[in-house]
Amino acid sequence: MIDIKNLTFSYGDKKILKGISLNVENSEILGILGPNGSGKTTLINVLDGYLKKDTGDIIIKGKNIEKYSRKELARIMGVVPQDMIPAFDFTVYEIVAMGRYPHLGIIDPISDNDERLIFDALKKTGTYDLKDKSIREISGGERQRVFIARAIAQDPAIILLDEPTSNLDIRYQIEILEIIEKMREGGKTIVMSMHDVNLAIRYCTKLALISDGKIYAIGEPDIVINEESIQNVYGIRGKIIRNGGNKIAYILPEKFNGF
């Protein structure tokens, strides 16, 4: 579904991505993990074309990303950017309706079918009752669900999410991740950057551990996450607690004592 080869990107002289290669199969949830500043968000932004890569290839559904028009790409790839409060009082319905824009001609009105998909997305994310509220007067967890609803209404094969659970309390984090899991079950391919290693292990089918703009390890969570990789990438010692079988349940970090 997504094939990335030797991707590099720099801000001015500062190299952020130093040759990333990875691929994502159909109906996978790829979690991108790594410390702050390792290039997670940049990778998401380069992947959706918002930032222009320096070198390397991004192949989406067998076609180079540069061969897609902006609108074509938006029909197969939805993005949920990092949470922020919009400056304007758009209603929740208006925000989710924007998910249909890539499918509409520039002056086409919202059709009945679009309307159905919008309501569907609102219901799937539990935001239907908020539809007439301003995006500015709902909570952070609700806001995140609204932007996910917009990506669902957009109806793309791939959805990229940039730290969808940051700044949310544990209940909202689980809620969001279960919505994402349901999208995968519905056949979507998901790529998301994450901070929380434990939640990533639990919900992602595949993890990419990024360190200093390069991939340190990629594969199944149980293989990628171990005491050594945590130490090498995050610079902390952690104890891995296994739950039944051999599945990782939790990483228990030791006290840092580093300074």
Binding site: D48, A87, F88, M98
Partner: protein, 333 residues
């Protein structure tokens, strides 16, 4: 404040617009009764004693004012939206300073006195020149971010304003003429100006109303707009060029009129919410109607001589705006 639905507010604005035009036709040194106005306007055979006053004196001026008001208000909506900046107005990208330079040169060089079309022509040339300059600087600066364009416009505005000030300072005898033009007025209105607005500004306004929906995602954030399939840089440039065109024409025919382009969009957004198609369509009629009323006051007050309309637009409008701003706390951010 409870928001009013888009359709409802658009309807209210249209009624306001039509009433403003019809009522202002009747007001002036000669008062014309309402029924006579209706008869003169809609009966092709009517040729009463007021025929010439209505068709030759008042109507061109009123229509020009309404078209300029609509243009400035729409241009303000677009500029505030694409730059996500509440302080943006139609002149933010340097159009006004370019037009002012063209107009000042035509007055000082004596061209304006030779032929009435020289001043608007040079003013429009100045506006177009600045627009192209700003767009070029912005397209050379990298990335889809809006700040560069805004700053380029600001820089050019200040630069041209300095030249205008210098020219005014060096040519004291023309000071009042230039100053009066800078304040804005419709006293030179002609049918030909109206026709030019109808041919160039009205289609641009219609296009902006139709494609205005694309501004919605840009207002949420450039990253969001991009994710929704909008090529932000290209789209912003198109909006920029169209709204600069209608601003340039407005400035050429009426000078630099403040308030309407800055404040009408805010008033509409406070009432209806930020949905750009609704805000643009409402602003066409509210801005047009408001300008007609302001100009009617400007031409009928007759203190010494006719007042520049820009003074009226601000004096009446700002208290209304401040009232709404206080009532609707935290409307922008």
């Amino acid at each position: 404040m409870k928001k009013i639905s888009g359709i409802k507010f658009i309807s209210i604005s249209i009624v306001f617009f039509v009433l403003a035009i019809i009522i202002s036709i009747g007001i002036g040194p000669v008062q014309i009764p309402f029924l006579t106005i209706i008869k003169e306007l809609f009966d092709p055979n009517a040729n009463g004693p007021y025929h010439i006053i209505i068709w030759e004196l008042r109507l061109p001026r009123i229509l020009l004012a309404s078209l300029v008001g609509a243009s400035l208000a729409v241009s303000g909506v677009v500029m505030q939206g694409i730059f996500r900046n509440p302080l943006s107005d139609p002149y933010i990208t340097g159009t006004a300073s370019g037009a002012a330079l063209g107009a000042t040169i035509s007055i000082i060089a004596g061209l304006a006195a030779l032929n009435i079309y020289f001043l608007p022509f040079l003013a429009f040339l100045g506006a177009t020149f600045t627009t192209i300059l700003v767009a070029m600087i912005a397209s050379y600066s990298s990335g889809p971010k809006s700040e560069n364009m805004l700053l380029a416009g600001l820089g050019i505005s200040i630069f041209f304003s300095a030249i205008v000030s210098y020219l005014m300072y060096m040519n004291g005898k023309d000071l009042q003429t230039v100053f009066y033009w800078l304040m804005g007025s419709f006293s030179g209105a002609q049918w030909n100006y109206v026709y030019i607005m109808l041919i160039f500004a009205v289609p641009a306004i219609i296009i902006l109303a139709l494609i205005g929906r694309d501004i919605d995602p840009i207002m949420i954030g450039e990253e969001h707009a991009y994710a929704l399939g909008i090529n932000v840089k290209k789209s912003r440039l198109l909006f920029f060029v169209l709204s600069s065109l209608i601003t340039g024409l407005s400035v050429a025919f009426s000078g630099i009129i403040g308030f309407v382009g800055l404040i009408i969009p805010h008033i509409v957004r406070i009432i209806t919410g930020p949905n750009n198609r609704v805000v643009i369509i409402s602003s066409i009629f509210l801005g047009g109607g408001y300008m007609v009323i302001a100009d009617t006051i400007a031409r009928s007050l007759n203190i010494i001589e006719e007042l520049p309309v820009g003074i009226i637009t601000s004096l009446i409008g700002i208290p209304v705006f401040l009232y709404l701003l206080i009532k609707e706390k935290g409307y922008w951010r």
